[in-house]
């Protein structure tokens, strides 16, 4: 039983949970982006983020500081996502959702294997993105790193939202996802909007990986796999076809898992993934559309 509530501790854990949740949100939005454009969950999303992170790690080994490496990697990931879609997904564009899903599962293993082949299996560590000192707000010490991660994740999602909401290309991409046939009739090159979606999703994943790696201390080629699971749980919780839902779901999940791990002693860190799976299961059983998703899947 908790007798006296340590509110400062709770606040710290909430912020720390939001920071994890921000990373899940980036990857969850990437999943939603591709799901809306093609009706498929991209199982390779996490591995692509891992690959991008290793590219950035290599850049830092060659003397680049964290943030320049970050910018270069995110741009490269955007281009890489487009190339990958053209090379691997385009050939199965007309195929069934199942076929495309299996291709992304294949991609998962290929990217993972390639990363082990290119980079040795020993663990790596990434320079810090933010100051490791704490900052005191209202007498409570918060981690600058946590606050920085929350800020960058939300900024990335906000930029993406502005792009979709206010640019001509963003509108065309939304239209192409909603109604590809009508979009073609208005002259939209639907096939290219899907490639662009892959580019944006891969770039978003790179941001997630690059924010997630430094606080881990050390990471290897499998470090994004639990994060993909959390992102998937966040997206399912929010509604797999709603970007806003995915953000809210991921942030809520981050906080929930962190509080659960801290205050329910037998969960600790070992059962976090099991808890995320339980969230997926409960949502799918109780409210399959999630918090903000649309109830029926219209795609046939």
């Amino acid at each position: 039983m908790i007798v006296a509530v340590d509110w400062a501790g709770v606040a710290q854990q909430v912020v720390s949970g939001l920071s994890s949740g921000g990373i899940y949100a980036l990857l969850a939005v990437a999943l939603v982006l591709i799901y809306r454009a093609t009706g498929v969950v991209n199982f390779a999303q996490g591995e692509l983020a891992m690959f991008s992170t290793f590219v950035a790690w290599t850049l830092t080994q060659h003397g680049l500081a964290y943030w320049p490496a970050f910018v270069v990697t995110v741009l490269a990931a955007f281009a890489g996502g487009i190339v990958l879609e053209r090379a691997v997904i385009r050939p199965v564009e007309q195929a069934s959702v199942l076929t495309v899903a299996i291709v992304t599962i294949g991609l998962f293993f290929v990217v993972n294997g390639a990363a082990f082949w290119i980079w040795s299996p020993e663990v790596k560590s990434m320079p810090n993105a933010f100051s490791t000192r704490p900052i005191r707000i209202a007498g409570v010490a918060f981690s600058i790193s946590d606050l920085g991660i929350i800020g960058v994740s939300l900024l990335a999602v906000l930029l993406l939202w502005l792009f979709f909401r206010f640019t001509k290309l963003g509108l065309a991409m939304r239209a192409a996802a909603l109604n590809p046939d009508s979009s073609r009739l208005t002259g939209i090159r639907v096939s290219w909007t899907i490639a662009l979606g892959w580019g944006l999703a891969t770039a978003l994943g790179a941001v997630a990986g690059l924010l997630a790696a430094p606080p881990l201390g050390s990471f290897d080629q499998n470090f994004m796999q639990p994060i993909l699971l959390y992102a998937f749980a966040g997206a399912v919780l929010g509604g797999i076809d709603s970007a806003l839902g995915a953000v809210i779901g991921s942030l809520a999940l981050g906080v929930f898992l962190n509080l659960l791990g801290t205050y329910v002693s037998w969960v600790g860190t070992d059962l976090r993934q099991a808890a995320a799976l339980a969230v997926i299961l409960v949502v799918l059983l109780v409210k399959p559309a999630g918090l903000l998703g649309t109830a029926a899947v219209r795609r046939v």
Binding site: K168, L171, A172, R174, A175, L178, N179, D181, S182, S183, R184, L185, T186, G187, I188, R189, V190
Partner: protein, 235 residues
């Protein structure tokens, strides 16, 4: 020289051939109607033009072979209001109209066209921020037409615009199309089940029967044609 010319165009869905080689043309500034029963190949004719169905034969638009990808057909200057209107139900009226101008680069003129279109359809100006799917059938038909006009097409393809509309709205719709044709020189190819309004609002017409052109002529002649009267006009 006709604006659009189809020479022995056939179209197929998989193994099923739905059009068996038709000849059809639309001159600049003309309204041409395509009539026929269900399954005669009316919709397929439009889909053949916009390359949303596999075709063979020759399609020439403005003196050039018509491209065989839908987005390229749109870019060549053909706007297609398909069966079911092709409205983006989840997007706002404003977004639907802006999508219509997707292929255009002349921003300033697009802005002017946008204002003009809203002047022509004042109800859409009122509903600008509303999701198009929440509008009434007649209003959605206006969105579809307005969106097509935003493309500034040289040729407008209309698939059964009367479907699901009250008779007064049908008359109103064809009046707007006639006006666009008269004042802005818009060429139109319209597919219709409602033969009387289609013949009354067009210069020429084709009657399709099981994927072939059965009768063709001026709309005035077809209105007097005994077989057409019996089968399609009902008197």
């Amino acid at each position: 020289m006709p604006l659009l010319e189809l020479r022995s165009v056939a179209a197929r869905y998989g193994a099923l051939e739905a059009l068996h080689g038709i000849d059809l043309s639309v001159d600049e500034g003309e309204i041409v109607a395509v009539l026929g029963a269900n399954g005669a190949g009316k919709t397929t004719t439009l889909r053949a033009i916009s390359a949303t169905v596999r075709t063979s034969g020759e399609l020439v638009f403005a003196g050039r072979p018509l491209p065989r990808r839908p987005e390229a057909v749109a870019r060549a200057g053909i706007a297609h209001v398909p069966e079911g209107r092709g409205t983006f139900a989840e997007l706002s009226v404003d977004e639907n109209l802006r999508l219509g101008a997707h292929v255009r680069r002349d921003r300033a003129v697009v802005k002017a066209d946008y204002d003009r279109v809203l002047q022509r359809f004042p109800i859409l100006a009122e509903r600008r921020g509303q999701a198009a799917g929440t509008l009434s059938g007649g209003e959605q038909q206006q969105v579809a037409l307005a969106r097509a006009l935003m493309q500034r097409p040289r040729l407008l393809l209309l698939d059964e615009p009367s479907l699901g509309l009250a008779p007064t709205l049908v008359t109103e719709f064809f009046a707007v199309v006639g006006e666009l044709n008269e004042h802005e020189g818009l060429s139109v190819l319209v597919v219709e089940q409602n033969a009387s309004i289609a013949l009354a609002s067009s210069n020429r017409a084709y009657v399709l029967e099981v994927g072939r052109v059965a009768v063709a002529g001026t709309s005035a002649d077809l209105q007097r044609h005994p077989a057409v009267r019996r089968s399609y006009l009902g008197y």
